[in-house]
Each structure stands twice: as structure tokens, then as C-alpha cells.
């Protein structure tokens, strides 16, 4: 079973809490976005409370916005080599 490299950009307070904006991960080739979030939560405990934890949360919709090429992704989506994700504050607005 091989591994793939993916990139994550943290935006706004999430970057400040993690202490960095750009992250790179080498993950198992079958890994899902949900698995990647688990790794990010382990590496950056300050982000843990903002990362979706509920199994039923398809999009991680509630706590943060996760985009790939401007579109929201599902947590059960598979990662692919070179995938670039942005993790941003939720789109609550007013």
C-alpha cells in the first residue's frame, strides 16, 4: 500500500492557532479527508475543537469550511496525490 502527498492551507484564526499556514502530509493512498483531519487534530491540538468529529457530519460543514478548488468537500471523499485543501472559518456571515 503506497502513500500520497497532500497539501493543506489553513486560513485566518486557524493558521494563527496552528502557528503555520501551509501543511503537508504524506498519507496512505486510501486515506479519506476525515483521516487527514484526524492527523491535523493530533499535530495541532489547538485546532481540535474546530475540526469535525461527528461521524454523521458529511461535509465537516458545521465547524469549518473545507474547500477544494473552491468547492466544499465531503469528509468521506478520498484524498488523491497532490490534492490541495483549504480549511477556513465557516460561512456563517450574518
Amino acid at each position: 500500500m503506497g502513500t500520497i502527498r497532500v497539501e493543506v492551507e489553513l486560513k485566518g484564526p486557524l493558521a494563527r492557532l496552528a502557528g503555520k499556514e501551509q501543511l503537508e502530509y504524506q498519507v496512505k493512498s486510501e486515506a479519506l479527508i476525515r483521516d487527514l483531519l484526524g492527523l491535523i487534530g493530533q499535530d495541532f491540538p489547538a485546532l481540535q475543537r474546530f475540526l469535525p468529529g461527528d461521524e454523521g457530519e458529511q461535509y465537516g460543514r458545521h465547524r469549518v469550511l473545507i474547500l477544494q478548488e473552491g468547492q466544499p468537500v465531503k469528509l468521506d471523499q478520498k484524498l488523491f496525490p497532490g490534492m490541495r485543501l483549504k480549511i477556513m472559518p465557516p460561512l456563517t456571515g450574518g
Partner: protein, 615 residues
């Protein structure tokens, strides 16, 4: 009658007469409360000929069946009347604590008629209502008015009031609640209606609890739900409504430079994080809310002096900030405080200032009109000064205070394209070019351009709503299916406004099922999803019928040309333009309206609404 006290107070300020009405159980089941109940009352008491600023208009304050219960975010109420800004349906739904106080005083709703011969305020408690002299309050700003009312009536009261803008019948005036926390019934100029009645304020207090049909079951349900709501809305709680502004900019949803620009990296300067670092004193909560998105700020600015009260919300940092290219949070917060003190809608006020800046830049108005002020993009001090002029109804401010539609009509045809409104209500801070459904929602919302009537940016942006029929996030740039999507969301949001729930609950996964369940647990009804959603549809159609009576039809279900024809070329929605005609056709069909946008007889009969064209 669980969920209600069964008391609507009808108060005539011209005669001082007061009477109490007991709402029929069928009416409550049909219209629920808040916005829906208010719709029925407004329809029954005013019409297309009513002068919004005349004594014949009424002002309604209506709570919902959940108000006063512990259901999360239910400490809300609706304010309704015919709008002097738009001339059609006027409504504003507001949080804070005043609605709970009205319910605890023992009332479900309040109808105010007539015009007092001199300034008055109304005090409501469990012993009844009293009309009191308000000569000493007239001229006070909203912060001072609350302080004076508390000195007079005791710290336990909650206050709703107008500021100087409402007194002078500025058409952008709002009704403010909770003093410095400035929870606003902001939109559609209902503060001017209150001013036209010589009604300065309403104070309310009481201890009556809302009767609950199934208190044990409700308590058990809420225990589980509240934890989930807190966990899912942690970002909103930590950073307030401006916490997400960088994401809104990223997706192309943030309007920039009076809707001309697609990207604006300076947005971080206005973020909730920036506010937290510089000005935040503490957060605050509306009644029964476990989230607390309110920001109380305290800051000493070298340019603007002390700044205090509720910090600017997302809509406000957009309209007074990005609309005007102002990236100075101090200026935005100072302008926001002025709006709160004068009692003005920050959305319409900021939009009017952005309109004026563009008109100035294009040479349509000059320093003669602005009183020597240079209205440049990004000029924070000029924005603050312009807000002051609007609040004091002075100079160019007097014209802008009538809204962008009226201002453009006066300035001339070239100004029309700079005036972004629907049915006379200025566009709020979600761009229809980023979410097609938002365009359709603005075009069809009963009060004019309104993001809250449909909240469809939430669904197209990030939240699937499986119980409403949307298990996947719809393509935000797609056109097909948007008629149905917008209609369903409007019906559901009407129910939230009637039960009195905050729409941020959507972001915690609260949608049809939970709201229906809470409704039944509180009222003891046995509504199923079909009847529940039908009530939402009924309210929406009733409001439409009100507007039809005011002359509204297909010709008014429009969007400003700029958002229909001007792709911004940069940002997260660089090239998209909403195809309104296509979406509107599908919307009318789904709603059962004819091609002119009028509800058909069959549809009205199905909804048990009167068909007005019989004779």
C-alpha cells in the same frame, strides 16, 4: 393553550384605548406566531392604500410559541408594519431579550395603532400596559434611552426604542433593543413608523412562564441538542458573525466596492479575529441562546474617540467596510456605533454611503452636496461623517436617508445603476453572483432584497439539509432546481421566524425535524412535516398577497442590473451571473403562481387563504 398566553394587546395611541384579544386556536395553528401571526394581523389591518407613516399604519410586535421556553435561541420576536422605505411588506426579526420580556409580561403580541399627540412610551408588565409621557426621552440616543428607562422603571426591564433617526422619520431607521447591545429590528424602516406614532420606546418586564405541553420530554430533548449546538457553532461563538468573513470573500460572496470588485485581500483587517485582538470586551447572548455571537467592544480610538457597545456584525463590516473599500476596523466600528445610537439599519445605511461614494467618484454629486466632504473609496472618516449626516437628516444625509432608490431618482438616471436594491430595500452582503439561489431569493423575498428570508447561501455554501430534501450541497452556479430550493427554504425560514428561532441553528444541523419537534413539544400539537411546511408556505403566500395589494407583481421581482450583467472577473465567483428569468419561471411554477407572479385561486384555496379578486 400551551406555547401561548392567549393574549394579544391592541393599543390605540390616538385615543389611548386598549383592548385584549384572544387568538383563535386555528389561527395559531395556521400562522404559528411571530412573523406568521404578524402577517395575518398586518393583512387584516392595513392594505395597499395605507400611508406607512400615517396613523392608519400599525406596528406589530409578536413573539413565537417557543419564546420564553428554553428552546435554544428562542428569545426572539418579530416587528411588522407597512414599510415606509419600500411601500410594501415590512418586517424585521430580532434577537436580544425584549421578546422574552414581552412574553413574560403575559402577551403573545402587541398591535400599536394611531399616533400619540406627544412623545410617549409604553410600559408592559403583568398588571397590564400603561402609556407614559416620553418628552424627556425624545432626542436621546438609544443607549441613553435605555439607561433612563431603567432608572425610571427598574433594572429588571428590557427596552425597545428608537433613536433620533426614528424620531425624524429617516426611512432607514430601525427599532433597537437591549441598549448598548443594540439588537436591531433593522430592516425596512420600521423605526420611522414608530417615530411617526410619537412612540419613543417600549419597556417590558414580567415573570410569567410560557406554558409547555410536554416539559419533561422537551427538557430531555434539549439536554442532548444544546451540547451539539455549542460544539458545532464554536467558531461563531469564539469569533462572532465576522469570524467567517475571509471565507465569504474567498467564495466571492462578499460585496466589494459597491458590488464592482471580486477580490479584496484587505478583508482580514475587518475579521472577527482582528476584532477579538483589538476591541473585544466580552461576548453576549440573546435570550435562551447557548452560542453567544454578540461582541461587546470597548476601544479608545485616536481618530474617533471612545468606541463602545455592540461590535459590528458581518453585514455591517461589509456594508460600512468592504462596500466602501474601508479596511479600517476603527472607522467601521465608529460608524456602527453611530448607527446604533441614532437607531439605523447598518445594511441600508452602509449601502447608501457606498452608493454616494460611487456617485461622487463619477461626478454625479460634488462637494456642494456633501458639505465639503470628499467621498473617496476607503475614506473611513468620510464614511463616519456621512453616517452622522444620515442620522441627523442633514445635507446629503437627508437624501440618502430615504434609501438608494429615492436618492438615485433624485440624482438622475446615471445614478440608477449604482443603486442596488430590490423593491426599494438595499441589497445585504451576500452576492447573487456567488450563489445563484441568493439572486432568486432577493428577487422574490417579500420585504425586498433579504438574505434571511431564504438563507440559501447557507445551503449552497456548505450545509446540506437532508430533511428538506437536500442531502447534497447543490451546485451554487447551477440554475435548474433553484426555484424549488428557494421556495422551500423561504417556507422553512418563515417557520423559524414564526416559532422564533435563530437561523444560525442551520449551521448546527437544526432544520425541519428539530424545529417541528420543538413546536409540537411546546404547543402540544401533532403537526406532521407536511402540515408544518404548509404553514410556512401559507405565511409566505399571505405576505405575497399583501404585496400584490400594494401593486407588486412579476415586474418587481427583479435584481439590480449590476449583479445580472457585470461579471467581476476576479475572486471565487469571477465569471458567474445568475440567470434570473429561468429561475423565476421555475419558482412561479413550483409556488403555483401565474406568469405574472400572482398566487392562483387553486393555490390560495389549498392554503386556506382568501381569494381577493372575487368581486
Amino acid at each position: 393553550m400551551s406555547g401561548y398566553h392567549g393574549r394579544i394587546l391592541d393599543l390605540n395611541l390616538s385615543s389611548g384605548e386598549m383592548k385584549e384579544e384572544k387568538p383563535e386556536p386555528t389561527m395559531l395553528r395556521h400562522y404559528i406566531g411571530g412573523s406568521g401571526l404578524g402577517a395575518r394581523l398586518l393583512m387584516d389591518n392595513t392594505d395597499g392604500d395605507t400611508d406607512p407613516l400615517g396613523p392608519g399604519n400599525i406596528l406589530i410586535f409578536a413573539t413565537g410559541p417557543l419564546t420564553g421556553s428554553r428552546v435554544p435561541t428562542s428569545g426572539r420576536h418579530a416587528v411588522l408594519g407597512k414599510s415606509p422605505l419600500t411601500g410594501v411588506w415590512g418586517e424585521s426579526d430580532v434577537g436580544g431579550n425584549w421578546g422574552t420580556a414581552l412574553k413574560k409580561a403575559g402577551y403573545d403580541a402587541l398591535i400599536i395603532r394611531g399616533r400619540a399627540p406627544h412623545p410617549v412610551y409604553i410600559h408592559l408588565d403583568e398588571e397590564g400596559a400603561r402609556i407614559e409621557n416620553a418628552d424627556h426621552l425624545w432626542g436621546q440616543d438609544t443607549f441613553a434611552t435605555e439607561v433612563l428607562l431603567k432608572q425610571e422603571k427598574g433594572e429588571g426591564i428590557e427596552a425597545a426604542c428608537i433613536g433620533p433617526a426614528g424620531e425624524q422619520q429617516v426611512l432607514l431607521a430601525s427599532i433597537m433593543h437591549d441598549g448598548r447591545h443594540s439588537r436591531a429590528a433593522g430592516r425596512t424602516g420600521l423605526g420611522a413608523v414608530m417615530g411617526s406614532k410619537n412612540l419613543k420606546a417600549l419597556s417590558a418586564e414580567g415573570q410569567r412562564s410560557t406554558p409547555l405541553a410536554h416539559p419533561g420530554e422537551l427538557k430531555k430533548n434539549l439536554g442532548e441538542k444544546v451540547r451539539g449546538i455549542r460544539e458545532n457553532l464554536v467558531f461563531l461563538s469564539d469569533y462572532g458573525t465576522t469570524g467567517g468573513i475571509i471565507s465569504l470573500e474567498e467564495t466571492g460572496d462578499l460585496p466589494i466596492k459597491n458590488w464592482l470588485q471580486g477580490k479584496w485581500p484587505q478583508v482580514e483587517a475587518l475579521s472577527g479575529e482582528k476584532m477579538a485582538e483589538t476591541m473585544l470586551k466580552k461576548k453576549f447572548f440573546c435570550g435562551a441562546c447557548p452560542i453567544g455571537c454578540g461582541r461587546e467592544i470597548e476601544y479608545r480610538s485616536e481618530k474617533f474617540g471612545p468606541i463602545m457597545g455592540a461590535g459590528p456584525e458581518y453585514e455591517t463590516v461589509s456594508t460600512l467596510g468592504s462596500y466602501c473599500l474601508v479596511d479600517d476596523l476603527e472607522a467601521v466600528a465608529a460608524a456602527n456605533e453611530l448607527c446604533n445610537r441614532y437607531g439605523m439599519d447598518t445594511i441600508s445605511t452602509g449601502a447608501a454611503v457606498a452608493f454616494a461614494i460611487e456617485a461622487f467618484q463619477e461626478g454625479l454629486i460634488g462637494v456642494e452636496e456633501t458639505g465639503g466632504l470628499h467621498l473617496d473609496w476607503g475614506a473611513g472618516e468620510a464614511v463616519v461623517e456621512m453616517v452622522r449626516q444620515i442620522g441627523e437628516k442633514k445635507g446629503l444625509g437627508a437624501l440618502l436617508g430615504r434609501g438608494v432608490r429615492a436618492a438615485a431618482a433624485e440624482i438622475g438616471p446615471r445614478a440608477e445603476e449604482m443603486a442596488l436594491h430590490v423593491k426599494g430595500l438595499e441589497l445585504p452582503a451576500h452576492d447573487p453572483r456567488a450563489f445563484n439561489s441568493v439572486g432568486l431569493s432577493y428577487a422574490t423575498s417579500n420585504r425586498g432584497a433579504c438574505h434571511l428570508a431564504g438563507m440559501t447561501h447557507a445551503l449552497e455554501g456548505s450545509i446540506p439539509l437532508p430533511q428538506l430534501g437536500y442531502p447534497e450541497i447543490p451546485d451554487r452556479f447551477g440554475t435548474g432546481g433553484k426555484g424549488q430550493l428557494v421556495a422551500r427554504m423561504q417556507d422553512l425560514m418563515g417557520l423559524f421566524d414564526s416559532l422564533k428561532l435563530c437561523k444560525f441553528l442551520l449551521f448546527a444541523g437544526i432544520e425541519v425535524g428539530d424545529s417541528l419537534n420543538w413546536c409540537n413539544l411546546v404547543t402540544g400539537w401533532d403537526l406532521d412535516q407536511k402540515e408544518f411546511l404548509k404553514a410556512g408556505e401559507r405565511m409566505f403566500n399571505l405576505k405575497r398577497m399583501y404585496n400584490v395589494g400594494c401593486g407588486i407583481s412579476r415586474k418587481d421581482d427583479l435584481l439590480p442590473p449590476r449583479v445580472l450583467t457585470h461579471p467581476r472577473g476576479t475572486g471565487g465567483a469571477a465569471h458567474n451571473l445568475p440567470r434570473l428569468g429561468e429561475m423565476l419561471r421555475e419558482y412561479y411554477e413550483y409556488r403555483g403562481w401565474d406568469e405574472m407572479g400572482l398566487p392562483t385561486r387553486e393555490k390560495l384555496e389549498e392554503l386556506e387563504l382568501e381569494y381577493p379578486w372575487e368581486q
